[in-house]
């Protein structure tokens, strides 16, 4: 204790001469650039996947219906829901912003909200108008700050040089570790489920991969899709186009994960896991066509205990998967395993039995309680351009079938394919393989009306085709199949396409006639679409049934105007394997419902 101790505190007096430090207007002070204030949501960008709700540890977020607001509608890839935040729960941790799959959710730097009604602190950002809606400052997810991996795990594949001279399957399949990492990327939002025609429980089976519980996964797969092994390889995977992860990164490899499950479970265990049929009911059903739709319906109905007979015109089951998809994409063995499994449920198969020739439709109607028509699309459409009747102008579907049937085709030196869809790619790549095997040189040209960005084929197919040295020329309109003096086909003459559709979105291509090319080819293959061969129905029945522009008219369940006849698959839905499975299921449900209804009437 000293005099200094008594005097020293008086230094505080110097503050009398300092500038005041008070903030003059604290009511309008702006928070910092990064401040985590009240939420904003770009509702146009938001897809309502609910990942924000899933991560919120406070249970502050509800997904609510906001239909009727402009820009928000339930559609594939958008649930039509939007997050509503309860500010009686929120802690402004911004995990919802960090995890947001589309980066639509952000935070402004606004922070003042006073109410005397506590129920007002709930609002739907972006929908309920707030004064901070257009504030630019505030927290946005920093670059590189991700709570889940944006990139897909690479699938092991054969290199183009290794695969081009054989029909060996290209894709190798994930290892357990790779699959687990890929499955880990899924945020379990489930917006893919509605997009999948057969509504496979995608998030659930992906979580089975994550847990390594493949038997659970297999059960989930087969409960919704008896063609899971095949779909695991060649599904058109609409789910992946709507995947929430695709907005800021690669979509989850849903198809490959499905394939992974089917590969991990030993085939011998399949039947035990899936479960056998119920006791016999005595009901009889005839199914025409052993493709995905017919066999799916057969699988469902046989498991219910009904007596199912399948009539197949060819010598193997599988339909388009067996005769239309090249082996490098789908080996025979996979198809056979799938078919054997379905047959093991008690389905009776009649191969090489063509309805209309070997057995009559009327006969089927008499012998069965229900008949299902699943005849697919086996007639290739033609371009009808001059010279298209030349014997070396083929339909892609016929050629593919011949290749898959094991016929030893002698590949042409050069070939032109007309069409930009998956079938066009398939035939181009199949013939390329034959050329490589037989001649060592590939010379395949693929022309299509569309430009490359609008090809109907899967982008992966296009990429792989280019890798396999297929010469793809887009925006070409075929004009004539040109033959030389000896009648030998020399190539396809084409014009440059200016537009494909007119103002009313009708098909009416216009060409630049000055830009003419001749694509040399000994063969020309038309791959521009297919239609059904309905001759088996017979004239009387064809007359009775209702038609819609050449297609059989059916209701949502696949029921035709005849009470005993259903139709399913490509012949009603167009070419798509998973849609065929979906129609197979709905027809089976519809037939089952009809049986129940009848039983109820009889009782």
């Amino acid at each position: 204790m000293s005099v200094r101790d008594l005097l020293s505190p008086f230094i505080a007096w110097k503050h009398l001469f300092r500038e005041p430090v008070s903030i003059r207007d604290p009511f309008n002070r702006e928070a910092s650039e990064r401040y985590r204030g009240f939420h904003q949501n770009d509702v146009e960008k938001c897809i309502g996947c609910g990942t924000c709700e899933a991560i919120c540890q406070n249970g502050a977020i509800d997904m609510v219906i906001v239909e009727g607001v402009e820009g928000i509608k339930t559609r594939p890839g958008d649930s039509g829901l939007r997050p509503r935040i309860d500010y009686g729960r929120c802690c402004w941790c911004a995990l919802c912003v960090d995890v947001c799959m589309t980066s639509s959710l952000t935070m402004s730097n606004a922070y003042k909200w006073v109410e005397n009604d506590p129920d007002k602190f709930r609002y739907i950002p972006g929908v309920d108008k707030k004064e901070w809606d257009n504030v630019k400052q505030g927290y946005h997810r920093p670059d590189g700050h991700r709570l889940n991996a944006p990139e897909r795990i690479e699938m092991p594949e054969l290199e183009p040089a290794e695969r081009i001279d054989s029909f060996v399957e290209i894709v190798g399949g994930y290892s357990v570790e790779q699959a687990r990492l890929e499955a880990d990327r899924c945020v379990t939002c489930g917006i893919c489920v509605a997009t999948c025609p057969t509504h496979m429980p995608i998030p659930e089976y992906i979580s089975a991969v994550r847990d390594g519980d493949y038997e659970r996964g297999l059960k989930l797969l087969y409960d919704s899709n008896p063609f899971s092994q095949i779909c695991g390889k060649v599904c058109t995977r609409r789910c992946e186009t709507t995947c929430a992860a695709s907005h800021e990164g690669d979509p989850i490899a849903i198809r490959w994960l499905k394939r992974h499950i089917t590969e991990q479970v030993p085939y011998e265990k399949y039947r035990d896991i899936i479960g056998g049929p119920l006791p016999a009911t005595g009901k009889k059903i005839a199914i025409i066509g052993a493709g995905p739709a017919g066999m799916t319906a057969a699988f469902d109905l046989a498991r219910k205990g009904h007596e199912v007979s399948v009539y197949e015109a060819r010598s193997h089951a599988g339909g388009m998967t067996r005769y239309g998809i090249p082996e490098y994409r789908l080996p025979f063995e996979t198809i056979q395993r799938e078919i054997d499994l379905i047959v093991s449920m008690g389905v009776e198969m009649h191969y090489d039995t063509r309805v209309g020739t070997d057995i009559q439709m009327q006969q089927l109607q008499q012998d069965n309680d229900a008949v299902l028509l699943a005849i697919g699309l086996w007639l290739g459409r033609g371009t009808r351009i001059p010279g298209a009747d030349h014997p070396h102008v083929y339909k892609a579907i016929d050629l593919l079938r011949r290749i898959r049937d094991g016929e030893q085709l002698e590949a042409p030196k050069s070939m032109v394919v007309i069409g930009g869809g998956n079938v066009a790619m398939d035939i181009a790549r199949s013939v390329a393989r034959l050329q490589k095997q037989q001649q060592g040189e590939i010379n395949v040209t693929l022309t299509a009306l569309e430009d490359k960005a609008h090809f109907l084929a899967d982008p992966v197919e296009i990429k792989e085709s280019i890798e396999e040295e297929i010469n793809i020329i887009d925006s070409r309109g075929p004009q004539e199949c040109v033959s030389d003096d000896q009648g030998k086909l020399v190539g396809l003459r084409s014009w440059k396409v200016l537009s494909i559709f007119d103002d009313q979105h009708r098909f009416a291509p216009t060409y630049d006639e000055s830009d003419e090319q001749l694509h040399p080819g000994e063969w020309i293959v038309e791959a521009i679409g297919q239609m059904s061969d309905v001759s088996l129905l017979g004239d009387a029945l064809t007359e009775k049934l209702e038609w819609d522009r050449g297609r059989l008219q059916v209701d949502d369940d696949g029921h035709t105007s005849e009470p005993w006849l259903w139709a399913a698959g490509d012949c009603v839905k167009g070419p798509d394997i998973v849609s065929a499975v979906a129609t197979g299921h709905s027809v089976a449900t519809s037939i089952e419902a009809m049986f129940e209804q009848k039983e109820a009437q009889n009782a």
């Binding site: 008070s22 903030i23 009511f27 540890q57 309860d86 500010y87 729960r89 006073v114 005397n116 506590p118």
Partner: protein
């Protein structure tokens, strides 16, 4: 959806869910010093005391009616609004933003707002965030001991709907079940500027004569007590003491 939501809100008074009584797994013993006893004074006189009773100020709360003319009431309200004295009871984490508020940077004193250390001098109880059941008991007593007119401000999302402790076994969710709240400020936690904004809004309410929390408490005293006693299992204090 909005309609559904509004419907739900309309139904609220009748649909108020009754929390079910959880069976008690153990009895709560009465604390030793709270047992009624007889004390001998130095002069030999024996006095019977019951510590749970407050003999001098146990009458229930009463509704305070406005002054007989409008102009006087307005004058009163102006005076009340311009002297918000906050009780210095930091019930939860929000209390930390009170100190910047009361120091030179934000300087709430210039708006007539200041801290008081005792409920007797304060007219504004700020519930700064979540309330554990143990603190709720003290907060109720502190509130009741404050003099009329008095106001309650709920600070932070915890007071509105439980905030981030929505699933905690020890914190209440809705403050308005237990105390009459005049105003809520959301945030976790609200910045001093938001608090100032809140107090400013409270002033406007008071001037408009709409901050009637204390009267609401008196009018619905029974309901508040039932709610309070439902969560405070060891109610060892008078029902009301001021």
């Amino acid at each position: 959806m909005k309609d559904d939501f509004e419907k739900l809100l309309d139904q609220q008074p009748e649909k108020e869910p009754e929390p079910q009584e959880r069976p008690a797994l153990r009895d709560i013993p009465v604390r030793e010093e709270l047992v009624p006893r007889t004390v001998t004074a130095p002069d030999g006189q024996e006095i019977r005391i019951d510590p749970l009773q407050d003999y001098y100020c146990q009458a229930g709360p009463t509704v305070q009616t406005p002054a007989y003319t409008r102009i006087i009431e307005d004058l009163f309200n102006w005076a009340r609004a311009e002297s918000l004295w906050i009780l210095g009871f930091g019930t939860g984490c929000g209390a930390i933003e009170m100190r910047p508020l009361m120091t030179p940077r934000f300087d709430a004193y210039r708006y007539g707002i200041q801290w008081r250390p005792t409920p007797r001098q304060a007219n504004l109880l700020v519930i700064s965030g979540y309330l554990s059941v143990k603190t709720l008991k003290r907060a109720i007593r502190s509130y009741e001991q404050m003099q009329n007119p008095k106001y309650v401000v709920g600070l932070g999302s915890c007071t509105i709907n439980g905030g981030m402790y929505w699933d905690s076994y020890n914190t209440i969710k809705r403050l308005d079940d237990y105390l009459p709240v005049d105003l809520y400020i959301t945030g976790c936690m609200p910045r001093p500027e938001a608090l100032l904004q809140g107090f400013d809004d409270l002033k406007k309410l008071i001037r408009a004569g709409k901050a009637e929390g204390a009267n609401k408490y008196a009018e619905n005293f029974e309901r508040y007590k039932t709610n309070q006693k439902r969560v405070i299992k060891d109610w060892d204090m008078p029902d009301y003491s001021w």
